[in-house]
Subunit: 573 residues, 2 copies
Amino acid sequence: MKLKTYLPILEWGSRYNRDSLTSDLVAAVIVTIMLIPQSLAYALLAGLPPEVGLYASVLPLVAYAIFGTSTALAVGPVAVVSLMTASAIGSIAAEGTVDYASAAILLAAMSGIILAVLGLFRLGFIANFLSHPVISGFITASGLIIATSQVGGMLGIKTEGHALPELVMSIVHNIGTINWYTLAVGAVSLALLLWIRMDLKNWLIRFGLPKGAVTIITRAGPVLVVFLTMAWSVLGDLGARGVALVGDVPQGLPMLSLPNFNLDTMQALLLPALIISIVGFVESISVAQTLAAKRRQRIDPNQELIGLGAANIAAAVGGGYPVTGGFARSVVNFDAGAATPAAGAFTAIGIAGATLLLTPFLAILPKATLAATIIVAVLTLVDFSILKRAWTYSKADFTAVAITLLGTLLMGVEVGISLGVAASILIFLYRSSQPHAAVVGQVPGTEHFRNVKRHDVHTIPSVLSIRVDESLYFANARYLEDLVYGEVAGRPELKDVVLMCSAVNAIDMSALESLEAIQHQLQDLGVRLHLSEVKGPVMDRLAGTEFLQHLSGGVHLSQHQAMEAIKALPAAA
Amino acid sequence: MKLKTYLPILEWGSRYNRDSLTSDLVAAVIVTIMLIPQSLAYALLAGLPPEVGLYASVLPLVAYAIFGTSTALAVGPVAVVSLMTASAIGSIAAEGTVDYASAAILLAAMSGIILAVLGLFRLGFIANFLSHPVISGFITASGLIIATSQVGGMLGIKTEGHALPELVMSIVHNIGTINWYTLAVGAVSLALLLWIRMDLKNWLIRFGLPKGAVTIITRAGPVLVVFLTMAWSVLGDLGARGVALVGDVPQGLPMLSLPNFNLDTMQALLLPALIISIVGFVESISVAQTLAAKRRQRIDPNQELIGLGAANIAAAVGGGYPVTGGFARSVVNFDAGAATPAAGAFTAIGIAGATLLLTPFLAILPKATLAATIIVAVLTLVDFSILKRAWTYSKADFTAVAITLLGTLLMGVEVGISLGVAASILIFLYRSSQPHAAVVGQVPGTEHFRNVKRHDVHTIPSVLSIRVDESLYFANARYLEDLVYGEVAGRPELKDVVLMCSAVNAIDMSALESLEAIQHQLQDLGVRLHLSEVKGPVMDRLAGTEFLQHLSGGVHLSQHQAMEAIKALPAAA
C-alpha cells in the first residue's frame, strides 16, 4: 500500500505489543540519560544556547518515529553537523544574536525540505558520490577541528574560526588569559569522563553489579559529571572567579513557530544546507544499514531521506537546529534493545521532561564541563588509520582521503568536503579516460582468453584480439583509436582484429564515431574488424547503426567462437 | 632526439626538396586568396578592426610551421574562436577602444601560454572531455549565433549581444533603421558568394577550363566579390548614402610588441582563455587527424598543443587575436597538395604582401560584404542532423547535444559549452552509478556464460552467478550490496555466490568495503562467496587485502572453472 510506504509507523504500529513496549522503554531511558549532556554540549558547539540542543532532541525524534524505517537509529544533534551549522551560520550572523538563532532554525528547515524532496523524488543515490575515503577523511578532520575548538572552553579563553589554522592561532594569541579555575573544572570533567568511558564498566563488573545496573550507571556517568560540576560551581562560587557558566536560559519548552524564510539568508544557506543534508544522510544511513543488517532487516534509503527530512522540519518548528542519526547513541539504542522507532518517541518524552526539570539549574553549569563532554565524544571520530589503509590499497583512494582531510582542516568543512568529492570524481574520470587494455590469447585446453603478458596463452599471427577494460565513451574514444592503430602498426601479416567487449559496458556516440574511424582505417589496410562478447544492452544500441551494417568482420557470442569463425574465413582481401 | 620532438621542422626540413617546394607554393597561393576576405571578416566578427585579422594570419602561420606536426593544417582566425573572443572581451571593454584591442592581444597570449603548458605537461587528454555530441551542439549553436550577429551588418542596423535572444531583440528593435543601400550591397554579395560556392565550379568545368584554373578561380571568387563591392562603393558613393565602410586603417604591418599583462584583466580572461584554448585545440586536432589519416600520417596531440600555443603567442606579439586551425582552409590546403608545414609559412608571406598592398584600399570596402562572407562561411557549421542521430542512438547523447545547443544559443558560448561538458560527465557518472547487471548461466555446449534473461542457458539452484557490468567504485558500491542481497533473498537453497568480474575494471576502497560487507552477510547465511574472471590489475590490488584472505569461496580464472570447482566442493556449512 502506498500510504504504508511513506508512513512506516502504520506498518510496525499495527504489530506493536507489550514486549516491544518494554524493550523500547528500557532503551529510551538509557538513550535519554546519554543524550542530555550531549545535546547541551553540541548546541554550544553549533554556537547556540545549550537549551537549543534539548529542543532539537524532542520533536525531531517524534517525527523520525513516524516517518523513519530504522528500528535502532537515534536522531538528534550530532558533533559533525553541529560544527557544519556553526560554519554555515558563522559567516552570515554573529554568535549570540537573534539572527544567529533564527538562521539555525532556517538552516534546519531548508535541510529538512532538501532531504524530503530528495526522498520523494528517489534521489538518494546522490549520497553515493560521497566515497568512503572522502567520508573518513572528512570525519577525522571534523573531529580534530571540533576537539581543537573546545580547547578554548577548557582553558577559559576565547577562540574563533571553524578551521584549524584560525583556531590554533587564536588559542596561541589568547593563551595568556587562561582562567585556572576553568582549567581545573575542565580537566577534572575530562578525566572523569575518560575514566567513565574506559574503566567504569570493568570496575562495576568487578564489584559484582548486575549487567543492567552496570549499563545504566555507565550511561548515566556523564550526567553525574554534569551534576558534580554544578555542585562545585555553587559551592566554589566559580562564577565569581571568572569561570564561564551557561547562565540563565528560558524555562520550559519553546513555542512552536514557523521559520523566517528570508530570501537573502536562504540564498546564503543553500549550499551549506545541501552539504549538511547529504553528510547527515550519509552518516545516518551508514549506521542504520549496519544495525539493520545485524537483525537481518532492510531499510529503504529513500524513505530514510523522508524520515530525516521530517525530523529536520520538526527541528525547525520546535526551535532547534539541524539533526541527524548519531552513531554512538544509535549503537546504545540498539544494544539496549530498542525494538521499534517508538523508542525514539519515548526518548523525546524523556528529554522534554528533562528540559522542564533541568532548565532552572542549567544557569550554574560550567561551560568547561560541556567542552570536556564534546572532546570525549569526538575523539572516537578521529581515525588516521584510514590514511595508511588507503595508501596500501590504492594511491587514488589515498589522494582522495588526503585532499579531503587537509582541505577540511585548513579551509573548513564545506570547502574540504567539496574538494574531496571533486577529487574523487576527477580521479575516477581520469582513470577511465586511460583504460587498461590487453592483447589476449587462448588459455590452452580452455575456451578462455587472457592477457598475453600475464598468462601463457596461444595466439595466431594473422589475428589480433584486444580486450579494452572500460566502457567506451567520449573521454577514452580517442585513446581507443591510438591503441588500435598502435597495435596494428607492427603486424604486417594481420588479417583480422577482434575487439573483445566483455568489459565494455556502454558505447556512446563519440566512441561509435571512433569505432567507425577504426573500421575505415582497417578496411584501407585490408584488415577485417570483428567484435566478440558484446553485452546485450550494448548490442541493442549498436543494432540500428551504420557501423554494424558495414562491419567488415562479424559479431561473435564469445571470443572462442570468434576465433573459430575467423579460422573458417578465407584470407581477407 | 629530444629537440626534434619539440621542433618538428628539424625533421621535415632536413628532407625538404624541390617537389615539396612546388606543392607547398601552389597550396599557399590558393589558401592566401581564400584567407584574405575571411581574415578581414572574422576580425570584424571578433569586434576588432579588419586589418587585425590579416595580422593574425602572418606570424601565427610561421610559428605553427616551426612547431606544428600536421602537414595540412592551416592556422589563422576562425569563426567560432572569433565569436568566443568577442564574447570574452565584450564583457570587460567597449568595442573600438584601445582597451578592447589590447585585451584581444592579451587573450591570445594567455591562450597561447595555456596551450603550450598543456602540451609541455602532456595534458592533451583533457580535450577528450569535450564529447562529440557537445562539440557538435556547440558548433551548430555558434554558427547560428554568428549568422544572426551578421544580419545587422547586412541591413545596416546596430545589433548587440553574443547570444540569440539579445541579438534577435536588438534586430527587432532597430529594424526601422534599415539602410537600403547597405541591404543591396549585402544581398548582392551574399547571392554572389553562394553562387560561387555552389555553382561556379560546375559552370567553369562546363566551359571546358582546365582543373587548375577552375580551382584558382573558384577560390578567388570571394576576393573578386570584395573588389567588386569596393568598385561599387566608389562609383555609387555608398559612404555618403549611409553604407558602413571599413574606413581608414593603419598602413603596413604592425610593430612587434609584448602584450600588456594587466592582472585584473588577466583574471577576468582566465576562464574564457581556457575555454577558447580547449575548443580551438579540439577543432584543430580533429581536422589535423582526419587529414593525416588520409595520408597514413600520425600527428602528436601534445606537440600540436605546443604548435597552437606558439601560434597564439605569435598572434599576440604580432598584434592579432586568438587563432586556431580552420576546417575549410585546411581541407583546401590539403586538396591543393600542401606537402609540409612550409605551405603555411608561404601563406604567411602571401598575407603579409596582401596586407601591404590592400590596406590603402580597405577604407572603401562596405562592411556588408564582410558580413555576407561570414554568413556563407558559417552556414556549413550549422548541422541539426546531429540531434536526430543522437536521439536515435541514445537519449543520453541527445541530452548532452540539446543542453549544449540550447545553453549556447540562450546563454552564450562560455556558459553553453560548460553546461554541455558538465552534463555529459554527470550523465556518465549517473549511468555508472546504476550499472547493468545480469544473473548468468552456461550457454549449453560451450564454456561461455551469459545473461539468463537473454540466452537459453543452464543454471544450478544452489549457485548464483552475477555479472556486474561496471567497475566497482564509490558511486555504485551501495548499489552492489543491494543487488546481491536482493538476488540472494529469494533463493533459500543457495550455497554459493559467484561474482563474475569480467566487466569489473577496477575496485576502489569503497567497493572493497561493500565486498567485505557482502562477504560477512553471506557468511552469516551459510553461503560462500567466489570471484571469477578477475582481471590482472584488479587482482594485483586485491592481493594483499583482508577481504581476499578471508574469502569464503575461491578466486577462479574463468566462470567455467568456478562452476567446476564449486561442483567438486562439499555443501557449505
